[in-house]
């Protein structure tokens, strides 16, 4: 496991492989919504058959044995899986901290109670409903508000901690104060205010989504003001503000390093080091054919970008590589055509100009929401074919 790059004096040895502490179970790509910033693969409609209950049980047991402690159920919309309560129950029995990541569509008070019974630890409600809904909500539509309020209250009443996740973009980020007020009123324990990341569907729609720098700075300032207020009031609600890396000069340490903490299993059983990795021209293993032990430690896909030996310049001789691992492989692939390149967010990257161009575009863009490519089966097939 150690040291595959020692033949070159300036490349540090490959560190020992970490434990897969986080297991993300993408149960299904089925979803009643069509968010234009969905992070699912563009060709999701062409993906294979979903894993069965028994196959998920096996995956959960193997990952737990290997050290996984956090288990996330996501999708698509995980609520469409009829065996969800069963999967939660098994996850909890194995000792996982179980997280349900849902849009809330299809959630009922009965299900909230049933999942609690099964051992669910936490529910995250993502306000990634269609923008119309979010906008109605922000505009104060009583009906939409009452519905979410009831669901959020039920989540709290059943003793769950609650995370509210708001995907922000250029069309709603200016209302960040309303978003925060709403989350505080709903008694969220954590609020994630994340600018959509530009993978999958969001990349396709970037011009319609990327906020301007001025918009971002304002939103961050307002968030900080609310943080101070919350702290002064002794309110435990925590605001997490995630900026899009398009406005950074150094990339994020994507997933804490390739194959170091995160393990994603897609609906058809493909194992990925991050949920965006499927788009890469890399062969990834499937849990139907291999044990997780083999997948995590020995498979080609999981070792492809571990350590530093794979890096070309400028990362290779850069003294920051142990900090950011050269950034995101998906972004490098999407924007430069080569997944080994430095993430172009980095100012040292030869392709950094594509990021600069996107920032410029954000200053002048005017693509309205209605012109974006919505995530649905028809669009997925069109894209996958071309």
């Amino acid at each position: 496991m150690l040291n595959t790059g020692s033949n070159s004096p300036d490349v540090p040895a490959t560190p020992e492989v970490g434990l897969p502490l986080w297991l993300l179970a993408e149960l299904t790509y089925r979803c009643p919504l069509q968010c234009p910033y969905c992070s699912n693969p563009l060709d999701f409609a062409a993906q294979g058959q979903e894993l069965s209950t028994a196959q998920w049980f096996k995956v959960m047991a193997e990952a737990r044995e290997m050290g996984a402690a956090q288990l996330g159920f996501s999708g698509g919309e995980p609520l469409v899986r009829q065996d969800l309560a069963e999967l939660i129950g098994e996850g909890r029995r194995l000792g996982y901290y179980t997280n349900l990541i849902t849009s809330g569509i299809g959630l009922t008070e009965q299900k909230i109670a049933d999942f609690k019974q099964a051992g669910l630890d936490h529910i995250q409600i993502s306000f990634q409903a269609s923008d119309e809904q979010v906008n109605n909500l922000l505009a104060g539509s009583k009906k939409a508000f009452a519905q979410k309020l009831a669901m959020a209250r039920a989540v709290k009443a059943h003793g769950y901690p609650m995370v509210l996740n708001f995907v922000t973009h250029r069309h709603n980020i200016d209302k960040i104060d309303r978003i925060i007020e709403l989350c505080i009123a709903l008694e969220a324990d954590f609020v994630e205010l994340a600018t959509c990341q530009f993978y999958g569907w969001a990349h396709l729609n970037r011009a319609g989504l990327l906020p301007t720098r001025a918009q971002l700075e304002r939103a961050e300032r307002i968030t900080n003001e609310y943080r101070d207020k919350l702290q002064a009031a002794g309110n435990p609600c925590k605001l997490i503000f995630v900026t899009p890396d398009y406005y950074e000069e150094r990339p994020k340490a994507c997933m804490n390093g390739w194959g170091s903490v995160f393990l994603t299993i897609t609906p058809d059983g493909t194992a990925l080091p991050c949920h965006g990795a499927r788009q890469l021209p890399v062969q990834f293993p499937n849990v139907r054919e291999h044990s997780l032990q083999h997948i995590w430690y020995n498979s080609f896909g999981f070792n492809r970008f571990r350590g530093y030996a794979w890096m070309p310049e400028p990362c290779r001789s850069c003294d920051e590589k142990e900090k950011d691992f050269g950034g995101c492989r998906c972004q490098a692939y999407m924007l430069t055509g080569d997944a080994s390149n430095a993430d172009p967010v980095c100012a040292k990257s030869a392709d950094h100009r594509v990021i600069l161009a996107a920032r410029e575009e954000a200053e002048t863009a005017s693509q309205p929401l209605t012109e974006m490519t919505f995530r649905n089966d028809r669009n997925s097939r069109l894209i996958a074919r071309s």
């Binding site: 402690a69 901290y97 997280n99 995250q124 995370v163 324990d189 925590k238």
Partner: protein
Amino acid sequence: MSFDRHLTPRWRPGYRFQYEPAQKAHVLLYPEGMIKLNESAALIGGLIDGERDVAAIIAALDEQFPGVPELPEDIEQFMEVARAEHWIELA
């Protein structure tokens, strides 16, 4: 400001303290997060059950590790930090 040792700590709802064999350590699990605790934090954490007050936790650890004069202060400090981080509720 002196610490009130009659306060009883309990984990914040949705926070779970457990031993992880793979990490050979106790951890605190919470929504989408995990903190690996050092040995002394794990010893204190293991006594947080919503029943014992801080004085009882100090007494229990003092019995287990006699002759450590800084022990009460360390425990109080843990409580302060854990409360500030909202890991525990003190009532």
